[in-house]
């Protein structure tokens, strides 16, 4: 019986080790790619928001100066009531657009938090894939007990990964639109 059981166990052991190593290597490789892309996206978003904010401030400053010039012209001359009303309406319209832009430009704060969270989860998954790796070891014995012991160690390592990461991931961002949020005074 033992002679029949041994080759099957050996084959099983080899297959399990091969499977675990394959999952570990491929998983790690794919996650590393995703992580790199996310970090790159975060860098691009960060630069984009800096440029957008700088442009926004410059436009706002220019519009302010233009408004002052217009106010001076209106004070010196005698604008028609229609023109004065039109300038007033434009001033209000610009204020609304500026307020909307300030709300919209906060997107990077939220997307950056989400990307940071994804990177944390990816790091957690990479830890798990790392824990699955048998480091290419060939199980020295053909007995099932050795395989079971190896699997038990892997299971412990995966469990340790979960414990290490628990509580380390920041809260998610639940906003689904860029309208202003609720305000509550205590």
């Amino acid at each position: 019986m033992a002679t029949n059981d041994t080759p099957a166990s050996e084959l099983l052991n080899v297959q399990v080790v091969h499977l675990l190593s394959g999952v570990s290597a491929h998983g790690d490789q794919h996650l590393a790619e995703v992580e790199r892309d996310l970090v790159q996206m975060d860098v691009l978003l960060d630069e984009a928001i800096k440029k957008l904010c700088a442009s926004f401030m410059a436009i706002h400053h220019a519009v302010d100066q233009q408004q002052e010039t217009l106010d001076g012209l209106l004070a010196d001359g005698m604008p028609s009531p229609a023109s004065a009303a039109r300038f007033e309406a434009l001033r209000d319209e610009i204020k609304q657009h500026v307020a909307a832009a300030v709300t919209g430009l906060q997107f990077q704060d939220m997307t950056s938090q989400l990307i940071g969270r994804m990177v944390q989860h990816l790091a957690g998954l990479r830890d798990v894939f790392g824990a699955l790796d048998t480091n290419g070891s060939v199980l020295p014995e053909s007995k099932k007990e050795v395989l079971l012991e190896t699997l038990s160690h892997i299971s412990d390592r995966v469990g340790a990964c979960r414990t290490e990461r628990a509580g380390g991931v920041r809260s998610t961002v639940n906003q689904r639109h860029m309208d202003s949020g609720d305000i509550e005074l205590f």
Binding site: C53, A99, T103, D109, M110, R170, N174, G181, E184, L185
Partner: protein, 121 residues
């Protein structure tokens, strides 16, 4: 005399938008990049109101509020949380820590300044 607000957030763009909105409404603004930086700056100069994010590296918003409330000068200074979080549990924790209000991001400049004006004039 110009009222001063301490704006604490780890996002540079958010701080810039906060600063822009509050300065446009006539307030002075001191920026801090995280809770510890906020606490340090609050100790250097007692401000009229504190606006803080919750999730920041190092010291978070709740910890900052507790630390500020432990300071004699900050027993009665209004503190507002401005965060992406809106759960009842975290709000209750904020209230227990000593926050006076909870604002969910993103903020609208007019609504923000309205709340600030209500608290410090």
């Amino acid at each position: 005399m110009m009222k001063t607000i301490l704006a604490v957030d780890d996002s540079g763009s958010l701080r810039q938008m906060l600063s822009f909105s509050l300065k446009a409404a006539g307030y002075g603004v001191i920026e801090a990049v995280d809770g510890q930086d906020g606490l340090n700056k609050a100790k250097l100069q007692t401000v009229d109101l504190v606006l803080t994010d919750q999730n920041m590296p190092g010291m978070d918003g709740l910890t900052l509020i507790k630390a500020l409330r432990a300071l004699k000068n900050y027993k009665d200074v209004p503190i507002l949380m401005l965060t992406t979080e809106s759960g009842d549990d975290i709000k209750a924790m904020g209230r227990a820590a000593g926050a006076n209000g909870w604002l969910v991001k993103p903020f609208d400049p007019a609504r923000l300044t309205e709340v600030v004006k209500k608290l410090i004039g």
